[in-house]
Amino acid sequence: IDNCGPLYSKFLMADKVAYNYFLGRKALFDGELSLAEKSLMYAFRNCPAECMSNKKKILIYLIPVKMFLGHMPTASLLHEYRLDEFQEVVAAVKDGDVGRVDAALTKNEPFFIKCGIFLVLEKLRTITSRTLFKKVSQIIGTTQIPLEAFLTGLRLVGVTDVNMDELECIIANLIAEKKIKGYLAHQQQKLVISKTNAFPTLSSVTSS
């Protein structure tokens, strides 16, 4: 369809919206976030306002994509489309409260599984950890943060099953994804972060 040239302009908008909706869903599951965003935004924007239930279906996939890219849906959007199942998840992700994310997902598990996005949403734990670690770093206020401090933070939110090795693994992944600018000093058991912008905004890290 992408290679059909001028013929594309002859397609019905309804078909183009449907095509982009499925293309975006597939891209989300393949982890191609920018393609997913582009397609689903196209579908959402061009789907007529009176087709509320179709727009809602698009949003169910667009919301996770947007969240991974650092754009959080507003409470009024979620409410307008009767997607209040997301409210608690969004609030918890913004707070960096990993435990609350887990609880919110579990609470609405049947709904999210029915939509087919439960496993996708579980990946929000990564960006939530990043926000938690950012808060810990800001409170400690130096560029060398003892890993123990992050464990304290995780324990506060009820995550007790992460040991030091697993913590280092989580942080190493965040560094690899460019969500943290810094390096692990394994011997010293510290995370050394960049003096400037050590936790770039998620919307500026779109490489994933």
Binding site: R45, H71, K135, I140, G141, P146, A149, R155, S203
Partner: protein, 43 residues
Amino acid sequence: AERADGEDDDVNVWEDNWDDETHESEFSKQLKEELRKGGHPIA
């Protein structure tokens, strides 16, 4: 007609600046307290 990127009446439905902490949330306060209890130096 097709609606382009610019003409968006739902721009405001996505929040970008949720990350800059202008006011300290309840959760951040708790976190600070917990770190202090853990014996970490607080800036």
